[in-house]
Symmetry: C2
Subunit: 111 residues, 2 copies
DNA sequence: TCGATAGTTAAGCACATGCTTAACGAATCG
DNA sequence: CGATTCGTTAAGCATGTGCTTAACTATCGA
C-alpha cells in the first residue's frame, strides 16, 4: 500500500491530460520517449518532464539501452491509487445503505 | 463517464492530502464545513478553498441550511476516476499476459 | 437585542507547474 | 569521420496553487 505522500504524487501525476495520455499508451505496452512524444502537441523536453513526473510517482519505470529510453507502466502504483478510491467508495456505499435502511424503518413505523 | 477535462480536475482534487482527508471523512457520511476543518492544521478560509475545489471537481456536493453548510460525497465522480484507473490496469494486465504467453511459447519451441 | 457561532470574501504572497528555446551529449549510420 | 537520431540539461517565464490575515455577513440562542 502507498502512504499519503506517495498518493499525493501519484494523483498529481494523474491530473495532467498529457501524462494520462502517456499512461494510456503505456498500458498497451512499453514505448520509447519519442513514441510517447509523437501524439503530444509539445516539445520533447516537455515530454521528458512529464515522464520524470510519472517516474517519480512510481506509475512508470524506464530504462535506457543504447540511445533509446524505454518506459513501461508499473501496475502496482496504479493499483494502489485505484484501491484508495475503491475503499472510499465502499465506505460511502455502506453509509448510503445504512441511511436507506434507517429511512425504511422510519417509514415502516409510520405505516 | 467523465471526459478528459473533468478527469483533470477530479485527479487534481485528489492530489492534495487535506482534500483526501476531507473525502475520507465524507465517505463516512455528510459533514459541515467546521467538522471538515477541525482535524486540519489550517485556517477556515483554506478549508473553504479546498472544499470549493472538491465541489468544482464533482467529487462533493454541498448545501446550506441556516448558517451551516453540509457537504456530502458524490459517488459517481469517485467511481469515474476509479473506472479510468481500472481500465488502464486491465489493459496493462492483458498486455502482460500476452507477453507471458509469448515467452512461454518461445520456451516451448526451445524444448 | 447582544454576543457567540458558522461561514464567506478579498487581497496578497511564496512557491510549484508546465511550458518554451538554446545548447549540448552520445549512439548509430553511411 | 561526419551527419543524423535520440535524448538530456539548463535557463527563463507565465500562470496556477495553497496558504495567510483582515474584515465582513448571516444566523442562532440567551
Amino acid at each position: 500500500m502507498l502512504n499519503e505522500s506517495r498518493l499525493d504524487v501519484a494523483f498529481q501525476a494523474l491530473a495532467d491530460p498529457a501524462r494520462r495520455a502517456m499512461l494510456a499508451r503505456l498500458a498497451l505496452g512499453p514505448a520509447s520517449v519519442s513514441e510517447l512524444a509523437r501524439p503530444l502537441p509539445m516539445s520533447l523536453p516537455a515530454v521528458m518532464q512529464h515522464l520524470k513526473a510519472l517516474e517519480d510517482s512510481g506509475l512508470v519505470s524506464t530504462a535506457k539501452k543504447g540511445r533509446v529510453r524505454t518506459a513501461q507502466l508499473e501496475g502496482d502504483t496504479l493499483g494502489a491509487a485505484e484501491a484508495w478510491l475503491k475503499d472510499r467508495r465502499t465506505e460511502w456505499e455502506a453509509q448510503a445503505d445504512r441511511l436507506e435502511a434507517f429511512l425504511e424503518s422510519y417509514q415502516d413505523k409510520g405505516e
